[in-house]
């Protein structure tokens, strides 16, 4: 105990019990302004730095580059601070260093500060509220699997090793997640959106190695998808393109998303990984379509009976792809007979 602590009778804890934090914060602010240790504009600038300028986008950019540039990835894992600064992201090395830990198919990294809230804020912004709670800090070191399963909906497979990093110094940790399957065609700037802040802390996982919510196990690595022939067209039939577009429209950019009814991309992606694992030999877009079907049913977007009935109609030729073509005179008219009375004979397409 040093001299300062014994000198005063002032009890900051008793003051806290008597007055709410807002009154005490404002009192501090006003007294410090009078002492010229703060000013109104200084307060505003500090607040706006942490609200607007720093944030996880910087970390996402670093990850996206590491996914597309092997030399950068090596540098990042060797000296995180140096590699991050090379992307014009300011790491104030007087106060912080950043070390990056890579996930792989059998390794999952998780970052915590059990003693307080230390966090790589230079690349991720200020930590989320939950990161700073005793609930997270106590459990992350001893029972990360239970924590991830119960609180973050991430059920790691038994063969994935969980390595926890307790941040006790000014050296801070960030996770380099695996590149998710289904992103092979994307360039660095597009990949940024596939990086989640939670994956860079370790409470989310972007590769395989965890149970999909329907009970399947996702252990496929992205390498399997890299075997696709680059000289073949992306889509070999319109149904493949439609399946792709539907998944994107429901998760990334479509009326459902705009209406606030979209789902996160990973809720589709997990099912895709599960389907690939379930039947590795199936063609990619059959796996995709199967995942899409599970997705719309399990997310409650469509009723199974409606899907089955509509599938039967298309299979029987009562409805056809013409209805997807704007202005096509053969297109289905909602509400009319499902028989053969459209005025001309469709036959079976």
């Amino acid at each position: 105990m040093d001299d300062h602590e014994e000198a005063t009778e002032f009890d900051a804890d008793a003051l806290r019990r008597e007055y709410d934090p807002e009154a005490r914060a404002r009192a501090l602010q006003s007294l410090l302004v009078e002492k010229e240790l703060l000013s109104t504009d200084t307060v505003d600038r500090i607040v706006s730095t942490y609200e607007e300028e720093i944030g996880p986008l910087n970390g996402a950019r670093v990850v996206a580059r590491a996914w597309t540039d092997d030399a950068f990835r090596d540098r990042l894992l060797e000296d995180g601070t140096e590699a991050i600064e090379s992307m014009d992201i300011d790491v104030d090395t007087e106060t912080m260093d950043v070390e990056v830990k890579a996930n792989d198919p059998t390794t999952h990294n998780l970052v915590v500060c059990t003693l307080c809230s230390c966090y790589p804020w230079a690349v991720l912004g200020l930590p989320p509220t939950w990161y700073k709670t005793p609930e997270y800090r106590s459990r992350a070191v001893r029972d990360p699997r239970g924590l991830l399963r119960e609180d973050f909906d991430l059920d790691l497979d038994d063969d994935v090793e969980v390595q926890v990093w307790d941040s006790t110094s000014e050296l801070r940790y960030m996770v380099l997640p695996e590149r998710p399957p289904g992103t092979e065609g994307l360039d660095e700037s597009a990949l940024v959106e596939h990086v989640t802040r939670n994956a860079m802390i370790g409470v989310d996982r972007l590769g395989g190695g965890y149970a999909a919510s329907d009970g399947g196990t996702a252990t496929t690595s992205p390498d399997q998808l890299a075997d696709l022939d680059p000289d073949r067209p992306t889509f070999e039939a319109p149904w493949q393109a439609r399946s792709f577009a539907l998944a994107v429209a429901l998760t990334e950019a479509g009326p459902a998303v705009e209406a606030g009814d979209g789902r996160p991309w990973k809720t589709f992606q997990r099912r895709l990984v599960a389907e690939i694992d379930r039947d590795e030999s199936a063609p990619y877009y059959e796996q995709w379509l199967a995942a899409l079907e599970r997705f719309v049913l399990e997310e409650g977007l469509l009723e199974e009976i409606a899907v089955t009935d509509r599938t039967d109609e298309f299979a029987a030729g009562d409805r056809t792809a013409h209805e997807f073509v704007d202005g096509d005179p053969h297109g289905h008219v909602e509400g009319s007979d499902h028989g053969h009375d459209h005025g001309h004979d469709h036959g079976h397409h």
């Binding site: 105990m1 806290r16 007294l31 240790l37 003693l115 939950w130 609930e135 070191v141 001893r142 390595q163």
Partner: protein
């Protein structure tokens, strides 16, 4: 100190509330609290280690009862008074005034101040280099001393007495146990990796836990 803040491995806290908040600061006063922290560091009133220790000095019930930035406000208020920058009666009076709705923050502009504070913050992190060579190498097996002083430490209690392996030698870093109490010295820092079952037996679901530990916390495995 063996404070309530040292929660690594503790049972019973229950589920994590993972609600996302759209704003960094849930209330404006939290942003104000952050600014007073910068003022404290930047003016040289206190360093980061004394700040953490001031939070740790909250009695257990108060610590657990307080929100995150409430702990900051409490800790910062304590330090500004202890360090003689703010008068305790002035603080109590002003708090009361704000609580009663009878005060407002003065409006003052000082465009140079943020730069001065930032420079001060960096200075606050400086320390003297240690005068000895690191005692341990990568691969060494080390045991964490039963390090139970009453002041600030960054050695979590859950690793005390445990044996681990040095995974990285990080060089000299400000030694928090000293710096929090006015002695700005540094010591060699190591990343030490522990098997989780060494720390908690079969109940652990982690495989390894890695902690950055200063040399005074460690001794060689005998």
């Amino acid at each position: 100190m063996d404070g309530i803040h040292d929660v690594g491995g503790m049972d019973g806290f229950g589920p994590v509330d993972t609600t996302e908040h759209p704003d960094t600061f849930h209330e404006p006063w939290e942003g104000v609290a952050y600014a007073t922290f910068v003022a404290g560091l930047g003016s040289g009133t206190f360093g980061i280690d004394a700040f953490r220790h001031s939070i740790e000095r909250m009695p257990p019930r108060d610590y657990l009862d307080a929100s995150y930035y409430d702990r900051w406000v409490t800790a910062i208020t304590r330090l500004f008074v202890e360090r003689g920058v703010l008068d305790p009666d002035a603080v109590e009076e002003r708090v009361r005034a704000f609580a009663d709705g009878e005060a407002s923050a003065p409006d003052r502009s000082d465009p140079e101040l943020l730069g001065e504070l930032s420079a001060g913050v960096n200075e606050a992190y400086d320390s003297d280099a240690s005068d000895s060579e690191p005692a341990f190498d990568v691969g060494d097996r080390v045991v964490v001393r039963n390090h139970t002083l009453s002041g600030h430490t960054r050695c979590p209690s859950y690793v005390r007495r445990a044996t681990g392996t040095v995974a990285a030698v990080r060089g000299d870093h400000t030694y928090p146990d000293a710096a929090a109490h006015g002695d700005e010295r540094s010591e060699p820092l190591y990343n030490v990796r522990f098997d989780a079952d060494e720390l908690w037996g079969e109940r652990a679901t982690s495989d390894t836990v890695s902690v950055d530990l200063w040399e005074p916390y460690l001794r060689p495995e005998r």
